[in-house]
């Protein structure tokens, strides 16, 4: 048995009602005038009755009991007494704010349902979680239901995959103490295997969110892009990629290929349709894959958009950042170790040009002026303090840059102890800032006796080093929301908000373009076949309405009204004062 006000508050309220009625009962004096032959005996009788007791006798206890009962019933109705079996269980309300809730006013309707539902739950046993990109508690146990409305003001669904399952897993693992009911308000449901693995004392149900019939019908035939990415061109061209786009349609109807734009300009090429698959789910969603081969890429932003559009806009568009596959032009000073030239020769991303042919990067000995004022990989003499020294431009963090390049350049793969033993010098790496990027390395290290040029790190050092010097972005390109991007410490959203990652891994939780440290970019897109295909909406094991059970509040009000009528009748008959 629970109430929306909590056990203590309800008891205090009942006590207050009893106390108030007690005072009113004591104060209440409504005398009926009766003319009698004499008041002689009555006056004396009152005095005699008073003299026998210390305090005045409590008058009309049945009237008092009737009033307290009526007041108590009304108070319990106000407190929404719940005597159903549900009252002995915790209730977790998961408010879906994923992509499917963005259509029309569905999320607002879901919020209204939640605000209507919450007051009927025990105040100490209800927990409401807003399942947006980062599921968060919007009403903790013990908090007043009115806070829910305040905390939902301004919230809206976003183009993100469902996080209901994540929230459910987290809550069950951390906070579940008693048998509980999980109520999902929205379309999303956990995966079937998760539902099957729920503890036996956890009941999960879903509340349908009302929507207009037009919206519902549109959702039933929703189509969206469920996969969008690139891969190395099957033709073998290093500077080209093959593009894949998968379009899924929930209901019947023709599946249209997406229209592509490159940095906002029409691409002028169309996808090639290849094959159609049918989902194994009961929804009967169909998917078609479209391919585009040999697309030259130089770091542009590629957008695929479905023509027409539907109620779920979040999956109608997908974007990715193409890799920058332009060759880096490198000018190499003569008389340098030949191992460097061999690496450049086999790397399709690099090409050696003359110093006069507008190179992007130069390789030279330190202190020289070969090829002019360009980012340079310089071979230094033994006088330099650091074996490796990275110079970054103003605005970059030298420490962070060095840390990033340490791995990417493969410096960790160098047998530094052996080199230090042979050179009898400390092998160290340093970083600083300068007018342009630069990497300085001891020239002695290129001798074969130190085993640097023969190590597996050397090609990586040359190739990555030269690309970094040329400013080539090593973009991830595209990432579905929720995927994991490795080696990222900081990420910046389009709005400028900085996200510091944990464990050098970044997971975009909402659609949009993210800037990653090291100059990389990634465009996160929904790309969720479950959302587009409406699979979640059909996985409803139980409608919550059936779980509401017996509502005693109307009966409390009815009983209170009946007692009020009885009191009125007794009052009219003069049986009670």
């Amino acid at each position: 048995m629970t109430t929306s006000l909590g056990f203590v508050a309800t008891l205090l309220g009942l006590a207050a009602i009893a106390g108030v009625f007690f005072l009113l009962h004591r104060l209440r004096v409504r005398h009926r005038l009766v003319v009698v032959d004499t008041t002689l005996f009555w006056k004396q009788a009152i005095e005699d009755a008073r003299a026998r007791v210390l305090v005045q006798r409590f008058r009309h206890p049945w009237v008092y009991a009737l009033l307290v009962t009526i007041g108590g019933l009304l108070w319990l109705a106000f407190a929404r007494l719940d005597v159903s079996a549900r009252s002995a269980r915790d209730t977790l309300v998961l408010l879906d704010a994923s992509a499917t809730m963005t259509s029309g006013d569905r999320f607002a309707s879901a919020c209204e349902i939640a605000e209507e539902l919450v007051p009927s739950l025990g105040v100490e046993r209800r927990h409401v979680i807003l399942c947006d990109e980062r599921p968060r508690t919007v009403l903790a146990p013990g908090e007043h239901a009115r806070l829910l409305h305040e905390r939902l003001v301004g919230r809206e669904a976003r183009g993100i995959p469902p996080t209901v399952e994540r929230a459910l897993r987290s809550w069950l693992g951390r906070m579940r103490e008693r048998p509980c009911d999980v109520v999902v308000i929205g379309d999303s449901m956990p995966a079937s295997e998760v539902l099957a693995a729920l503890p036996s004392d956890v009941r999960l149900s879903r509340v349908d969110v009302a929507s207009s019939s037009a919206s519902a019908s549109t959702r039933a035939s929703n189509q969206g892009i469920t996969a969008f990415g690139y891969a190395a061109a099957r033709s073998g061209s290093w500077d080209r990629v093959d593009i894949l786009a998968e379009v899924t349609r929930a209901g019947a109807g023709e599946i249209s290929p997406p229209v592509l734009t490159l940095d906002g300009r029409a691409l002028g090429r169309a996808f090639e349709r290849r094959g159609e698959t049918r989902s194994s789910g009961p929804d009967g969603a169909r998917s078609v894959r479209f391919y585009l081969n040999d697309l030259a890429c130089s770091g542009e932003s590629l957008e695929a958009r479905l023509p027409g559009g539907d109620s779920l806009e979040a999956d109608d568009k997908a974007t990715l950042v193409l890799p920058d596959r332009r060759k880096v032009r490198v000018a190499v000073e003569a008389d340098l170790p030949p191992a460097i030239a061999r690496v450049i020769a086999v790397d399709p991303a690099l090409e050696i040009v003359e110093a006069s042919a507008e190179p992007a990067v130069v390789i030279r000995r330190a202190g020289g002026s070969f090829a002019g004022d360009l980012p340079a990989l310089e071979l230094t003499g033994g006088a330099s303090e650091h074996a490796f020294f990275v110079t970054c431009t103003e605005g970059d963090d030298p420490g962070a840059t060095l840390l990033s390049l340490h791995t990417r350049l493969g410096l960790g793969e160098i047998d530094a102890n052996a080199v230090a033993t042979k050179t009898r010098r400390v092998i160290s790496a340093g970083a600083g800032t300068g007018a342009r990027r630069g990497i300085a390395v001891w020239s002695e290290l290129f001798a074969h006796e130190y085993n640097f040029v023969d190590s597996r790190a050397f090609p990586l050092f040359v190739s990555v080093g030269l690309r970094w010097l040329a400013g080539v972005r090593d973009d991830v390109g595209a990432a579905p929301i929720g995927s994991v991007i490795e080696d990222v410490q900081l990420a910046t959203t389009e709005s400028g908000r900085t996200i510091r990652t944990l464990g050098d891994a970044f997971t975009p939780v909402a659609a949009g373009l993210y800037g990653l440290d090291g100059g990389r970019r990634v465009d996160a897109t929904l790309l969720d076949p479950l959302v587009t295909g409406g699979v979640n909406a059909s996985k409803s094991p139980e409608r919550y309405g059936a779980a509401l059970g017996f509502d005693i509040v109307p009966w409390l009000l009815l009983l209170a009204a009946l007692l009020l009528c009885i009191e009125w009748v007794l009052f009219q008959r003069g049986r009670i004062p």
Binding site: R32, W42, A49, R52
Partner: protein
């Protein structure tokens, strides 16, 4: 407040008079003055009923000498006869406001009881006077006897008007001041005096007449059927009392009323006075018969 609904035809109702016919006042002693009647007087003289002998003394009426005794005994004795004299009956009905209150006002029973006593007395040639009282005492009909007296008594009784509050002390003081011939004072009242029982008893302690109390009661006097939060208003004084009717208050009331009745009974016994309680909602004469043991009220 209303006047009495009892009319002369009501009082002369044949059935009522027939029931009164069965009743009779018998006085053991009657005051020596007054007119000859059917009551035995302390005075021994010219009556018809022999009572005793006594030796002759000079000055005695020689017609009373019993010569047969003188012939047998040689001594002169006088024959003494018991003189029959009338018993003045002073009917004192209570006409205070409380007597006129209620659905069945006590005044109706009061007048019937007063008229019954008057009828009984006049039937035996006694003199009857009517003295209604409330906070004072009036002379509605001076004591007298005769065949037409009963109509005058009835007329005077039906003309009574509601008076003020009950004040036995003032009323009896005025009654005593009249210096009437000793007789029987029949007080018909509810005996609700603003001074309580003590006021009633104090008033009658100084009365030199024989007393007969006719207490007019209702069942609700002893067992009130009131409940709830009440503002009780005294119909005579207008005094208001807030009362919460609780079992304790009811118990206290009943105890006080019982003491009141016991006080009246005790006083009547001490004064060798008659006391009869008449329920105003029942037949008056039938209840008066309780007082007239075997049809006669022996004083």
């Amino acid at each position: 407040m209303t006047t009495t609904s009892v009319t002369i035809p009501d009082l002369f109702d044949p059935e009522f008079l027939a029931s009164v016919e069965r009743l009779k006042l018998i006085a053991r002693r009657v005051a020596p003055s007054g007119s000859p009647a059917e009551k035995r007087s302390k005075q021994q003289g010219s009556g018809m009923e022999f009572r005793d002998y006594r030796p002759y003394s000079p000055g005695d009426d020689i017609k009373a000498i019993d010569w047969n005794v003188y012939r047998r005994l040689g001594k002169v004795f006088l024959r003494l006869f018991e003189e029959q004299r009338d018993l003045p009956v002073y009917v004192v009905p209570d006409v205070s406001r409380s007597m006129f209150h209620g659905d069945v006002p006590r005044i109706d029973a009061c007048l019937r009881a007063a008229f019954a006593f008057a009828a009984i007395a006049l039937r035996e040639a006694d003199s009857v006077g009517v003295f209604p009282f409330s906070d004072t005492l009036d002379v509605a009909l001076r004591p007298g006897s005769g065949s037409g007296r009963l109509l005058r008594v009835a007329t005077s009784l039906t003309k009574v008007e509601p008076g003020g509050p009950t004040d036995f002390v003032a009323a009896m003081r005025r009654f005593s001041a009249m210096r009437l011939r000793p007789g029987l004072v029949v007080v018909v009242s509810d005996f609700f005096d603003r001074n309580g029982l003590e006021g009633v008893l104090d008033a009658f302690r100084s009365v030199q007449h024989r007393l007969c109390f006719v207490q007019l009661v209702r069942k609700t006097d002893a067992q009130p059927n009131l409940e709830g939060e009440l503002l009780l208003q005294d119909c005579e004084s207008g005094h208001e009392s807030e009362v919460s009717i609780t079992p304790a208050v009811l118990d206290a009331y009943r105890e006080l009323y019982r003491k009141f009745e016991d006080g009246m009974t005790s006083f009547a016994r001490k004064r060798h006075a008659g006391l009869v309680r008449i329920d105003v909602e029942d037949n008056v004469v039938d209840q008066l018969a309780q007082l007239f043991e075997s049809g006669a009220y022996v004083l």
